[in-house]
Symmetry: C2
DNA sequence: GTTCCTGCAAAAGCTTTGCAGAAGA
DNA sequence: TCTTCTGCAAAGCTTTTGCAGGAAC
């Protein structure tokens, strides 16, 4: 998928964010591994290829990209942030057994929202928790 | 509102959680101050009345109560947990200006959820972010 | 009398900051 | 060349843990 990275580099240029090797690798990883990784996971995955890479750079990169709206940070865990390259409106399901996070499509307009007249809404986070089908079938 | 605390103490007894002075005070505070406070806020509020109170106890208390389903912890901030004594399904709106958190009613059944056949859902967190009416009117 | 809870001190874990050298434009 | 980025070390914060004394039942 060269097209995706092309779109991504264009987004960086539009936001006047320099195309450093580290940033492109982090973005490539997020694009090719839609697992909503933690900083730790990104670090472990890229460390072999870029031995000098530091976690500080990953934190800096993700903060920069979040502010530019190129990635989205998820607060679905209580201790550690996760990152998503999908920035369109969708929900996240976290399995309490395997800890995996699944995307799902939502129609937020159908959430009956009384009580919010006069509120200007910029973003919406929807997190579901439970057991995924794979873990349900492993009857333990 | 003596009835609320009566209900609360009954919940504690049902869960075999001892009715310590500290726990009752934390719960009373949550019940009378529906501001989704942080541990820090609870600590500051109760410290005058209970000078020996420690943050460790507040953390222990809130963890115990969360596990028993008597309070709910919110991950609406990226750094600090907030706590809610309302445990029924409802949404939270956080104002980016005044940082206040508002409750709102939702009907989650109307969220069009494809992609989740076979998933067993235990809980749902819905967080909205934007500007509240008060802050919208202060045109700054 | 038992069992569980409190609170101090210390540790753990995630994230940010300061800064000198390196890389991008 | 000028500005920005990287990465090391250290610090900052929230939260957890170990444990002795104390409170609940």
């Amino acid at each position: 998928m060269k097209s995706n990275l092309g779109v991504i580099t264009e987004k960086l240029k539009n936001n006047k964010i320099r195309l450093s090797h580290q940033r492109l690798k982090v973005l490539e990883y997020l694009d090719e591994n839609r697992i909503h990784p933690t900083v730790e996971q990104i670090y472990n995955a890229l460390h072999d290829e870029i031995p000098t890479l530091s976690k500080t750079t990953i934190y800096n990169t993700l903060n920069t990209l979040s502010e530019a709206g190129i990635v989205k940070s998820l607060n679905i865990e209580d201790n550690e942030a996760r990152y998503d390259i999908r920035t369109d409106e969708h929900g996240h399901f976290k399995c309490k057994k395997c800890e995996e996070i699944y995307d799902f499509e939502v129609d937020m307009d159908k959430v009956a929202v009384k009580d919010l007249e006069g509120f200007r809404i910029f973003s919406k986070d929807l997190y579901f928790f439970g057991i995924c089908p794979k873990c349900s079938n492993k009857n333990t």
